[in-house]
């Protein structure tokens, strides 16, 4: 371990020395002329790669969110180390040997499982997008977000591995009359959400794995709910209690928060599902094109309702739309990468993407959303994101 660390430091020193000594002038230095770093126990990315999560400064950093650098993403998966985070009372450090998941309430046989016992049950893996219910919440404001990370970055896509919740509930035997599962987490605020039993028996996972290894602590280690297509907050992390009840418990995070206030003063309750959404990640706000010529315009589309059917792109501010190529496989409720070759002529252009999912739902404009919901609903924003490319290649939000 010490060897690995010191050799890694040595490599960084070597690189900075090389950069300081005018590496770029000496083309031959691109090839290693001496031995590289030896094998290591846990991989690290190249020291030249700098993409990181962004988080707003806060007096209470234990509650807050960090945003995935979508502008630097390629393909459909988010590395676990760049997955967005949202927690309400910090990340607990949980020893899996001490952790238990208890199923109780309206069941025939209350059950307590160790993590090892959960891992003995038949498992499944699914690649699924996870999006915070508050993602793009800043887009309701008069001035939309300057870059894709800060305005659309509370969304990520991972392979999740776990046990179907229905399997565990059947094992406990759900009693007649039960219609909700109250999920509670083991973090300091003991996150609580009410999940309808119909969804619980359909496709929810009790997940312990992410992208080929155990969940990261910030993602709920050792156990969390993964609820395909539903707002992140309901996917309770550090899961330790599932109580079967006949009613929703109206937890703070499903009444006071994550409800959508309409212009008439009424708020929408249990708006669990995340609707179809897409955004161009390159070129996007904050980036600069090197000059006129060919570029691959690319981005991500997803829908809580299922597969992405098509993505259309405009490069003339919405006057005309053309179909982008979609990366296969197009999995339901997963990131779908879209791509289109585009020749930048050195003239100002307004570009955007529009997703259509398998239900026929079309990603709306910001104006269409506001016409129905006003500007104070806070959550579940999925409007089209416009980027302005200036003649010098600079890219910003349209109202910069």
């Amino acid at each position: 371990m010490r060897d690995f660390k010191s050799s890694s430091r040595r490599q960084v020193l070597r690189i900075s020395a090389a950069l300081g000594g005018g590496l770029l002038a000496k083309q031959e230095a691109a090839r290693a002329a001496e031995l590289g770093i030896p094998l290591g126990p846990y991989g690290e990315r190249s020291p030249f790669e700098t993409a990181v999560r962004w988080r707003r400064d806060s007096k209470t950093p234990e509650t807050g969110s960090s945003f995935t650098p979508l502008q630097d993403s390629v393909g459909m998966l988010t590395p676990s180390s760049l997955h967005y985070e949202r927690h309400h009372a910090g990340i607990p450090t949980i020893d899996p040997a001490q952790h238990r998941l208890v199923i109780h309430g309206m069941v025939e046989r209350p059950l307590s499982f160790s993590v090892a016992e959960i891992r003995r049950l038949p498992s499944v893996s699914r690649i699924l997008v996870l999006e915070c219910g508050g993602n793009s919440g800043s887009e309701w404001a008069a001035k939309t977000g300057p870059d894709v990370q800060r305005s659309y970055g509370l969304v990520s896509c991972s392979e999740w591995t776990g046990v179907p919740l229905s399997l565990v509930l059947n094992e406990a035997g759900v009693r007649r009359g039960a219609s909700f599962v109250i999920a509670e987490g083991a973090d300091a605020c003991r996150m609580e959400r009410s999940i309808p039993l119909t969804k619980a028996m359909d496709d929810i996972l009790i997940a312990y794995g992410q992208n080929g290894e155990a969940l990261r602590p910030a993602q709920g280690y050792p156990l969390r709910l993964i609820i395909p297509g539903w707002e992140g907050n309901a996917n309770v992390k550090w899961l330790h209690s599932l109580k079967l009840t006949e009613q929703a418990y109206m937890a703070r995070d499903e009444t006071a928060k994550y409800t959508d206030l309409m212009p008439d003063g009424k708020a929408r309750l249990f708006t669990y599902q995340m609707e179809a959404k897409s955004v161009i990640t390159f070129p996007s706000g904050g980036q600069t094109l090197a000059g006129p010529g060919l570029y691959e315009l690319t981005g991500l589309a997803w829908s809580g309702r299922g597969r992405i059917e098509r993505v259309e792109i405009t490069t003339d501010g919405g006057r005309s739309w053309v179909k982008a190529a979609l990366q296969e496989p197009r999995l339901p409720i997963a990131f779908t990468r879209f791509r289109m070759p585009w020749r930048f002529e050195g003239r100002e252009a307004v570009i955007a993407s529009r997703a259509v999912d398998e239900s026929g739902y079309v990603q709306p404009t910001r104006e269409a959303l506001i016409a129905v919901r006003g500007v104070n609903s806070g959550y579940h924003y999925n409007g089209i994101k416009l980027w302005k490319v200036y003649s010098d290649g600079k890219v910003t939000n349209v109202d910069a």
């Binding site: 003063g265 249990f270 709306p364």
Partner: protein
Amino acid sequence: MWTPSALLLLVTAAVAQSPKYGVGRPPTPDEIRGVSAAVAPDGTGLPEGSGTPAAGSEVFAAMCSRCHGEKAEGGVGPVLVGGQGTLATDKPLKTVGSFWPYATTVWDYVNRAMPFDHPGTLKPPQVYAVVAYILNINGIIGNDQVMDAKSLPKVKMPNRDGFVPDPRPDVGPTAKGKR
């Protein structure tokens, strides 16, 4: 008399109800109490104990005002008072008094998540008291009203009827009513 087919039916039903994998063990009552603090709108889950707004004002000054302000006007933590009548305006103020639909939710949340830096340290009478205080300064209960497992679920919050079911899709070609 049991007929063979009735017996078969009984056996089948018993098989369908029995655990398939036999993994896990029954939890102890303490174990359930340890992992679940959930309180329902009908009061299920509320413990014994009681509190008044006067007692709550002392708890609030000692434990809550540092973040929520001396008069619950907000600070590092959110404002907890006022806002009634603002939800349909351009500047809605969502507080416990103006927005939260159930008093039991306030109890549940304070009990599980507050104070922010020492969650779970308040005893049930302190939680009842501080909830009584917050309801009182919002004009929802009187100065002398005692909050306990019986009275708290009966409190009708001003915005109890302010929530509607999810009507989405509400925009675009698949919006409900457009199909």
